[in-house]
Symmetry: C2
Subunit: 228 residues, 2 copies
Amino acid sequence: MDSRVGKDGRDGGAGGVTRAIRDDIIRGVHAPGARLAEEALSARYGVSRVPVREALRTLEAEGFVARRPYAGVVVAALDDAEAEDLVEIRSLLEPLGAARAAVRHTPEQLGRLKELVALADDALAAGRLEELARLNSRFHEVLAQASGSRTLTELITQLRWKMEWVYTAKLPRRAQDSWREHREIVAVLESGDPDKAARVVTRHIGKGRGAHRPADPQAIAVDQDPED
Amino acid sequence: MDSRVGKDGRDGGAGGVTRAIRDDIIRGVHAPGARLAEEALSARYGVSRVPVREALRTLEAEGFVARRPYAGVVVAALDDAEAEDLVEIRSLLEPLGAARAAVRHTPEQLGRLKELVALADDALAAGRLEELARLNSRFHEVLAQASGSRTLTELITQLRWKMEWVYTAKLPRRAQDSWREHREIVAVLESGDPDKAARVVTRHIGKGRGAHRPADPQAIAVDQDPED
DNA sequence: GCCACCTTGATTGTATACAATCGTGCCCGA
DNA sequence: TCGGGCACGATTGTATACAATCAAGGTGGC
């Protein structure tokens, strides 16, 4: 149970602490609304208060924690309406990213996507769902990067983090067959058709309906599949 | 030419430095690609290196600067493709925010919007364009907050900052008559119709066409109006 | 003359120490 | 008994000092 950030991580320094705290928030180690005292964090992650403070500043900008002057930071609480908005925003941005990726993707990125699909096939055959989830994150991360837009990439990545955050505490995983759709995405990217790429990803995300119409407040994305 | 952050600012501490540096980046004081040495910044803004570092962490998360380990931070450079993406992303998110605002806005927020429109009328009559620009920012800020979604509010606010950043260096202002449309937005919000709100803001932003189709690469938002 | 290596300088990353601020509990008085 | 005020503790915000790392320039050898 030692969460201290390893010295070996490629991102030396406070960046590692940022990732560690963010992961712990997503995984529910730090519950929403919990107070995050700087000294406690510095003890827990084995660094001084300065990197902790910088990490908290990053997490604040990303929306994972809220800061009030001289009152400390607390883990942000995502209510149902926020969760619904996340789904909606993502259903707008990821198709846009896919459309960009269809035009701008590099051969190397396409190769990485194909590689990830192949790895997922192996993992699926071996029944390693844990591996599948990790590959899923990587797939969408590379897909976002293929958009060629730094802004889009960062936004989509952060949205995915928050989606994971929301779903981690809400439902068990059901991951398997989304990879058939992943393979389809790669094929569309290779064809270079932006419209088709956007449509495929829209369907993949699971919000095929019109954009701006607010969904039924009752159906708070509980039927969404975290593994997409 | 003293940019040091005043002690009087409501947001005590490093938050003020963050705002100051961001404003200077947006205003072009720190040119894209410029190296931002921490000590130079701390001298310029009259604080120590620690608040500067925290501010840079925030600005990094917001995408205004890029950090490379032990290599310092540089002001991010937005190429034309990025600028185009910003326009596209905003044309997706602001209508969504308006749709949410039409349903969730509080009476207080609606009052503030009306008040801003009135103030803009006065400023317009007096010919104070500088005041108009500031009111314009406030209007869209309150409009975003009225969406009731913290995520949406932050995203839209950051996008607006970046739009301002892009346009500051590119074209002169032409601000006047967008306020007629602002008044229209307020009316739609009061009516409570989400679809109509989304349509009005979509037209207001100036990208009425379909969402995912990439725009003509030649027409890089140069004909966009920064004052909307 | 050119390349590899090392040294040096500057800059970032981190830790420790100090100051400012706020919440809290206690005490006193009505 | 209850309310206001005050002092205390804890925590955040900031400044200074030190360690780690990298880039550049010089020097020696080939």
